[in-house]
């Protein structure tokens, strides 16, 4: 029930992200979600793509340093309080959140978040029990072609 996030090391200098985006374009890879965490001299680009296997091959070939991490992609009603409810569930069960970022889809009335937690299995269990919908990598394409 997880999505495959690809995290990529990018040096903090002009043109790095452009070069990266062009590489994905050349190989026809589409990004569903993106977030950049930046330190002083470098950044970590985190993306969810349509074809993570192909992306990994392309990145390896181009000498990028990257890792693949299973993260939770959560679907929630696009209205106030949705996120708070999910975060409450995690907190109540002492599941720590490392980082999170939002993305959108073509599905009307819904919002999406990526959650990187300390314990995926526990989080899946807790969220599942409470009827929170998780999108796995396999179903990721579905919310983008309505």
């Amino acid at each position: 029930m997880t999505a495959k996030q690809i995290s990529v090391f990018l040096e903090n200098k002009p043109g790095q992200l452009t070069e990266f985006a062009k590489l994905l374009e050349q190989h026809g890879i589409n990004m569903h979600a993106l977030c950049v965490a930046d330190a002083k001299d470098f950044g970590i680009l985190r993306i969810i793509v349509d074809d993570s296997y192909k992306t990994a091959c392309v990145l390896k070939e181009a000498d990028y340093v990257f890792s693949i991490t299973p993260v939770l992609a959560v679907e929630m009603p696009d209205k106030p309080g949705s996120l708070a409810r999910i975060l409450d569930l995690l907190a109540e069960n002492e599941i720590n959140l490392e980082y999170t970022y939002a993305f959108t889809s073509r599905k009307e009335g819904y919002a999406y978040m990526i959650l990187r937690v300390t314990d995926n299995e526990r989080a899946i269990e807790v969220l599942g029990e409470n009827g929170v919908k998780l999108i796995c990598q396999h179903d990721m394409g579905g919310i983008f072609c309505q």
């Binding site: 996030q5 995290s7 090391f9 990018l10 040096e11 790095q16 965490a37 330190a39 001299d41 470098f42 970590i44 985190r46 000498d63 990028y64 340093v65 990257f66 890792s67 991490t69 490392e98 980082y99 990187r116």
Partner: protein, 433 residues
């Protein structure tokens, strides 16, 4: 099983070596005094005449020669035979200033080749080996030296010269190279390239003879593991002859100086006082058999230690440590002496690649030391905090080694220029001179 090229010389008694040195030194001083007005002047200024030099004990009466003297006397000022007796010129790579040229008679070349042959045999070389020389050929002494040595041993010599990595690897596979001679940074680069091409099973190398630049013990381990070879160090300088002034044996515990040709001393680089064995100081060489370009008490600028303890390999010649730094690549940052090799040691210890670059800048009259390190998959994480922790660990280890703070900067993999010759490890942007 120890391997010697000239056992009667390499394993001679200390008394025998001393006797050779005494006799050859006396002769050499007279030869230089009579034929090199530049050095005669230096001797006269010091009030020394050839008769004052009766044995190696009198060596310290002689004046020093430095690279500045070589530049001043360029090109013929230190030549001791008629130019018509010379058959070869070699030149330094010129990384630290004006070029220096050295001259050789046929006799000089023969002795130089012998020195390199000793190094190849010590590394296990025989007439059945294929010696792959990818030191540069030409003015640089690396290629010609090992080439000549390999011929003396009777090995099949592959005069590859430097560069064109694809061809190097192809010949290595196709022609079964067994002994690799190049700079250690190029050896590391070759190892990496061989793995990238998945050709590691087709490589038949058993040994490598690596020199011409500083490398650490950790880098040695790295190369040995990757190429499945034993890596031997070799030392030399164009001014004295070229590679083979000293070389490592299978004990890998220092390089035996070819004392029948070169007398080694360690001096205090500030006072010029000769230091006892075991003390760290500047290495000085006196060449006692060279005809064309015989330098007396030449200051190498290499900082090392001499060790006269008996070596397990059976050789009796004094061993010099790997140079711990060169005064010309030693950096003084915030008043502290920093050697690139120290930084390399820390990086390799912590599992980082040996490919790094040191950048020194000065901001508001304060020096800043920056170390560029390539990001590796092992070091990477999707969490910023984990990378930061590793960065801090590295900062701490560098501080402990250097005594000053160095800023670690993680950069894109393979973005630091890979060398096919000497590595550019240090960029000093301070414009101090």
């Amino acid at each position: 099983m120890p391997n010697y090229y000239q056992p009667e010389v390499e394993c001679a008694s200390r008394d025998q070596i001393k006797a050779w040195q005494d006799e050859r030194l006396v002769k050499q001083v007279k030869h230089v005094y009579d034929n090199v007005p530049y050095y005669r002047n230096l001797m006269e200024k010091k009030g020394v005449v050839p008769e004052d030099i009766r044995s190696t004990e009198d060596l310290n009466k002689l004046p020093f020669l430095t690279k500045d003297d070589l530049r001043e006397a360029y090109p013929y000022g230190l030549l001791a035979v008629p130019l018509s007796d010379c058959v070869r010129i070699q030149s330094t790579s010129g990384t630290t200033g004006r070029r220096v040229v050295a001259f050789y008679t046929q006799h000089d070349l023969d002795l130089w080749d012998d020195c390199c042959a000793r190094a190849i045999v010590a590394a296990g070389g025989t007439k059945d080996d294929v010696v792959h020389v990818c030191y540069g050929y030409g003015l640089f002494t690396g290629g010609p030296g090992l080439n000549g040595g390999s011929h003396k041993v009777g090995s099949l010599t592959l005069p590859m010269s430097s560069g064109n990595t694809d061809r190097q690897i192809q010949f290595m596979c196709d022609l079964g190279s067994t002994i690799l001679c190049c700079t250690p940074s190029y050896a590391a680069y070759l190892a990496e390239s061989i793995y990238e091409r998945g050709l590691q099973d087709q490589i038949k190398l058993k040994a490598g003879i690596f020199g011409a630049e500083a490398w650490s013990e950790e880098m040695r381990q790295d190369i040995q593991n990757k190429l499945h070879i034993k890596a031997y160090d070799i030392y030399g300088l164009t001014e004295i002859s070229g590679p083979g002034v000293s070389f490592e044996c299978s004990a890998q515990g220092g390089m035996h100086v070819n004392e029948d040709h070169f007398i080694a001393e360690i001096i205090d680089p500030v006072t010029g006082e000769v230091l006892p064995d075991g003390e760290k100081g500047e290495l000085v060489f006196t060449s006692i058999t060279k005809q064309a370009f015989p330098l007396l008490r030449y200051r190498t600028r290499d900082i090392c230690v001499l060790n006269r303890e008996k070596c397990s390999c059976g050789r009796t010649h004094v061993r010099m440590s790997k140079p711990m730094g060169r005064s010309d690549d030693m950096l003084i940052v915030k008043g502290v002496n920093v050697f690139p090799s120290q930084i390399e040691t820390v990086l390799l210890n912590k599992g980082y690649p040996a490919n790094y670059q040191i950048i020194v800048t000065r901001e508001n009259n304060s020096d800043k030391l920056e170390v560029l390190v390539e990001m590796t998959p092992e070091m990477f994480s999707d969490e910023l905090s984990k990378i930061t922790v590793r960065e801090k660990e590295l900062n701490g280890a560098l501080k402990a080694m250097l005594g000053i703070y160095a800023v670690v900067k993680l950069v894109t993999p393979k973005s630091i220029t890979r060398s096919e010759g000497k590595a550019v490890r240090v960029i000093d942007k301070r414009n101090l001179y």
